[in-house]
Symmetry: D2
Amino acid sequence: MDHDETIQRLKSIEGHVRGIQKMLADGKYCMDVIGQIQAVQAALSKVSTRILDGHLNSCVIEAVRGADPEARERVLDEITAVFAATNKN
Amino acid sequence: MDHDETIQRLKSIEGHVRGIQKMLADGKYCMDVIGQIQAVQAALSKVSTRILDGHLNSCVIEAVRGADPEARERVLDEITAVFAATNKN
Amino acid sequence: MDHDETIQRLKSIEGHVRGIQKMLADGKYCMDVIGQIQAVQAALSKVSTRILDGHLNSCVIEAVRGADPEARERVLDEITAVFAATNKN
Amino acid sequence: MDHDETIQRLKSIEGHVRGIQKMLADGKYCMDVIGQIQAVQAALSKVSTRILDGHLNSCVIEAVRGADPEARERVLDEITAVFAATNKN
């Protein structure tokens, strides 16, 4: 997986979070601040999806094809758990 | 996968949705109605997670071990897509 | 608020949930079933939003303009709570 | 509203995002990285909820009590919109 691109996105998200602090310090309108927080959350979701995609196409394939049934089970349970955690409502 | 149990849960969710209609018809307090809708959404998330879990432990294992690279790619892309769809914010 | 329209939407959601049970009984593809569950969740979200909108434009206005500070506080806290509950991730 | 406390939380979130970049650079396990991203998203949700709470107890009360029906409508529509945006599934 191309970690450089993912790290780059997180750097940009970090800058975005810093910008939101400035919005608050500058007394910007609350609902605009919430809008920017939602934009950061959406950007983080894209990063998660990107990492999951890389994970499925490397570790998951490896574990499913491998000889260790426990490793396979653990890897698949992790996918279920991450889906459950994002899908609470 | 035990579809009977999953269908049973959906039947109970169906009854819950009918109950919410009655709450509205009876003029129940709006925020209580929204609370019940959120409970239905949470119950549906659990059903989705259950189905995904079964899918990972059957079709996904099969496709990843199978000889068809396109089938494998499609199955893994579907997992990424369903994660992205639940993780929008 | 027009409860008739909201109840009508919930009736249609109820039918949708019944259709998903049939998909499972007919052995439809798991990921298509999950897609339909997500569609039901999205439809429920729209119903919640509709109810909240009606609530804001009736009870909330009333409570905020009213003489009882506790009623006002309770109504506003409920809005915060419902937002927090939908915004867990 | 106590912006200092909110800004402090965002500073801590910013550090968390920086830590996730380091996790990736250090080759940490993908699913652990996703877990940390979800923790950041949850922390951002709490910040949003905090800001919304402050907004409801200041601007919203003011607009609802005020003489300008358009300002009131706008403020209430914003609450509905932010709820809809967080409640898409």
